[in-house]
Amino acid sequence: MKKHYIILVGLVLLGIVYPQMFPGYLSVAITLLLYAGWATAWDILGGWAGQVSLGHASFVGLGAYFVAVGTAHHDIAPWWSILMALVAAAMLAYLWGSLTFKLKGPYFTLSTIAIAEILRLIAINEGWLTGGATGVFIMTLPEPFGLDLFSRQVNYYLALAFAAFTVLIVMLISRSKFGYQLRAVREDEDSAMASGINPTTVKLKAFMISGALTALGGGIYAIFLSFIEPHTIFYLLLSVQIALTAIIGGRGTIWGPCVGALLIVGSGEIFRTMFAEANMLIYGLLIMVVVMFLPRGIVGEPARYLLRRAYAKRAQG
């Protein structure tokens, strides 16, 4: 476990000096960090608790809209609106989960798509609340400590902090009692219940943490884009991207979602000129290959191999 913390600290240090080394590639790095954070947050519910959600774009949208509408229409500073978004996201996750957690496996997944689509239609049609289909522009932002929140550099450090914070949370969860409860529920709900775990409560907690963290990233995303519209930010494909990033990297592993983000955002950059707007092709091909040949993901398979070898060694004495 200690080595995970050392890796995290090392990566964060690397992240801090990155803008000095590659000042021209900040936008890619921001995208990468946001996806790493979102996928890690998704994984708390999707990987550790085993409930595959294809509706996480709703939480991105929620966070983004709180920040954008807050600054553009109500003059609320982004840090306050992000705090409100976190509370709102946890509440949304609570309601959403209480409604749908009695559904199992694929049915839960289908219900998340349906709810996310309904939320998207609300964001498009309720202009008084969200600015409607045309979207919201962020024109001015306050300058805390003289920092310009519009600058790429500041956006980058915000995204870095978000990704690192999310990974840290997952590390803490993975070794906590709660983390073991999550895994127990994922493996077998009946056995989990038999050992005194309430699966619904555990899943609800996971969904609330996951949703709130995703909304946090959404708020930073809104500051980064400084323009949001409901068609893209509540879009089913964004949910799919977040989920697939985590699954390709490896569900229920600490570093899997980050590796998935690196792989996907990286290859997206490389192939961007080749495929132009058809960038989701990479997701499609990767997920097919991973599910067929590496069902535990790119990090999950070797991690399992190492674990099994360690057990075998111990068993041999």
């Binding site: 595959v52 409604l99 749908t100 957690f101 009695k102 559904l103 199992k104 496996g105 694929p106 049915y107 997944t109 289908l110 219900s111 798509i113 349906a114 709810i115 689509e117 309904i118 239609l121 498009i124 049609n125 709900e189 219940m193 309430n198 699966p199 619904t200 089913l236 494909l237 799919v240 697939l244 699954i247 495929f275 707007e277 058809a278 960038n279 989701m280 092709l281 997701y283 499609g284 091909l285 990767l286 997920i287 097919m288 599910v291 067929m292 069902p295």
Partner: protein, 294 residues
């Protein structure tokens, strides 16, 4: 003031468009019934059918209904091959795997279409596009009527195959009890390939039938059709063909009625709302077995 004529008009439109939804849903539910696979690429198969009609129309000037002759067998073959090459590897894997693979397949199909045909919507112009048939004061659009008719013919054909042929018996047996079917000598691997082929052929047919009505766009519309197919099948109950037809009709009517009597902004939401309600309130009746409550 309640307007009887416009109510009947909406009802008939709803039933006709619902017939096409039923056709899409039946393919999905048949595949689920036999393979226990939720096919996320089903809507993209519909779009493939649309583009097939567009292609044959621009190349040879074929009428969309003529292109069914090519599209259906092609859809069947492609489906059977896809099942053999991709999905048959996942029989032992957890149910999510096939969902994820078909989700990947959906992205691949959509984006390949985007690369080949470009992003602008495509359609086929037919001479009878605005013709109507009147029955009393209610007018039926000829295209919708033809779509409804084609749907009925195809579903009747499917029903006949399932209930009156040896192949149909084998399919029903595999859906019922896979092991039992194998014990009495059914080649379930072959049945699965055939069923996936039939499912794809049905989706492609729906796409061809829809093309005079709707525009084909490569990426987003596939997801919409997949969602509609889910709504249809869950409304009726996954794995149950008769119920999928009822679900399709219900979805069509709910959408058209909701759009004309409430607000058309939420046209796509009405179906989803009903879908959620059914999923949450009557899950045990819809999935064939009791869902445990925690």
């Amino acid at each position: 003031m309640f307007d009887y004529v416009s109510f009947m008009q909406n009802l008939s439109n709803g039933v006709l468009i619902g017939g096409v939804y039923a056709l899409i849903g039946v393919g999905l539910t048949l595949v689920f019934g036999v393979m226990k696979t939720i096919n996320f690429a089903h809507g993209d198969f519909v779009i493939l059918g649309m583009y097939c009609a567009v292609l044959l129309n621009t190349l040879f000037g074929w009428d969309p209904y003529l292109s069914l002759l090519v599209a259906m067998p092609l859809g069947f073959l492609t489906g059977a091959i896809l099942q053999r090459v991709v999905l048959s590897r996942l029989v032992e894997a957890p149910p999510e795997s096939s969902l994820l693979v078909t989700l990947g397949l959906s992205l691949v199909i959509g984006n390949i279409l985007l690369l080949t045909f470009g992003a602008e919507p495509k359609s086929v112009n037919v001479s009878y596009a605005s013709s109507t048939v009147s029955l009393g004061e209610v007018r039926f659009s000829l295209i919708l009527l033809l779509a409804g008719l084609a749907t009925m013919v195809v579903i009747a054909g499917l029903y006949a195959v399932l209930n009156h042929t040896e192949l149909g018996r084998a399919i029903r047996a595999t859906a019922d009890n896979r092991l039992g079917a194998e014990l009495v000598g059914t080649n379930t691997r072959r049945i699965e390939a055939v069923v996936f082929g039939i499912g794809m052929a049905l989706a492609v047919t729906a796409g061809v039938v829809l093309i005079p009505l709707l525009f084909a766009t490569p990426t987003f519309s596939g997801a919409i059709f997949t969602l509609k197919a889910f709504v249809v099948t869950v409304l009726g109950g996954l794995g149950n063909i008769g119920a999928a037809i009822a679900g399709g009709l219900l979805l069509g009517v709910v959408e058209v009625m909701g759009a004309s009597y409430l607000t058309s902004d939420y046209r796509n939401a009405y179906g989803l709302l009903v879908f959620l309600l059914v999923l949450l309130l009557r899950p045990e009746g819809l999935f064939g077995k009791t869902v445990k409550r925690v």
